[in-house]
Subunit: 200 residues, 2 copies
């Protein structure tokens, strides 16, 4: 857990401290996780793929978990972005969540990392736990707050089930017409489902 | 555990001709796909795991695709079972589909094979296509017929998105309270969603 302080201190400027070094390690990790899944990815293979010394990966990340979380971080680290997006009247919340999710997933710079997370979570118990805890924490907190829920733990899992199923169908199975459908149209179809899970 | 006893029965029959030989190959394939995914599984590794000569696997299956489809077949090969289950009034169809899916997935003899399919589909483009085509074909045909749909291609993908998301949340992410919730209660929550996608 010293890595967190190390991470904060990274920008000091000596060779290993280049801000791009950490970024290139995370980018390489995303691709490794995407192609090989969590279990088959090692700090060593990420280092090789990033073209850096393995010691440098250890310098930034205490272990594979932490590296995975850095890759996982993409969708939710901008919590402010999510919170701002959800600042709408309650009756628009369902559609708004779907539009937010599709905007993030349709973004070509984010999609590979997100797919990596989803794929790893499908194949590795450990990655599953990381995703579940990360995903639930993030969604729970932001969506519950936006919806003013008093019983989020019984409602949010259903929201997640529809949202993750939509993601799986659109981006993994690539089921038509879902994959080519404009986000607003998808949101119009699926939004009411979330609305019902949240408020009915 | 029952699957293992069934598989154990393979030893009884004559070598190539026994109907149990094919069954034991399929059972071994399911386990190989479950543990290693589509890409990492070969006819050779399945043969080894089934304790048969690789030539025998080739005798029953033209290739890995066909073997995978045999493993994939579990939920839908009993098409009559699905058709019978869906023989209910239209207004009960949503809940009935969910109850059917959960009954299949909760079955400990079927769950490993189904998880294998889902995991492979999440990680391998090729397995994804097989699942999509198998899944869509099966669901399209049976659910459309049961619902008397005239526009199944725009409705069924949404049904699939919620159904697969529920499966992912309950069996892969193991999100509580979804994972421990009795099937009827899950169906009561999620059924209306399918109902809306099918008929609204």
């Amino acid at each position: 857990m010293t890595a967190r302080t190390v991470r904060g201190a990274r920008a000091v400027g000596r060779r290993p401290g280049s801000p791009d070094t950490r970024g290139s390690i995370v980018a390489a990790a995303r691709e490794e996780f995407a192609v090989h899944g969590f279990a088959q990815t090692s700090l060593r293979s990420v280092a090789r793929s990033a073209g850096v010394d393995p010691a440098l990966v250890h310098h930034y990340f205490a272990g594979k978990d932490e590296l995975f979380l850095a890759a996982l971080d993409i969708p939710f680290s901008p919590k402010d972005e999510l919170r701002a997006a959800l600042d709408v009247p309650h009756e628009q919340l369902g559609e708004t969540i779907i539009r937010f999710v599709l905007r993030i997933w349709d973004d070509p710079t984010r999609q590979p990392g997100l797919l990596a997370v989803l794929r790893s979570s499908a194949t590795t118990e450990h990655a599953t736990a990381l995703l579940r805890d990360g995903l639930v924490d993030a969604l729970m907190a932001e969506v519950s707050a936006a919806a003013g829920l008093t019983d989020p733990e019984t409602r949010i899992p259903f929201v997640i089930s529809q949202t993750i199923g939509l993601i799986f169908a659109r981006y993994v199975l690539r089921l038509e017409p879902l994959t080519s459908m404009p986000p607003d149209q998808v949101a119009a179809h699926v939004g009411p489902t979330l609305q019902r899970y949240l408020f009915d």
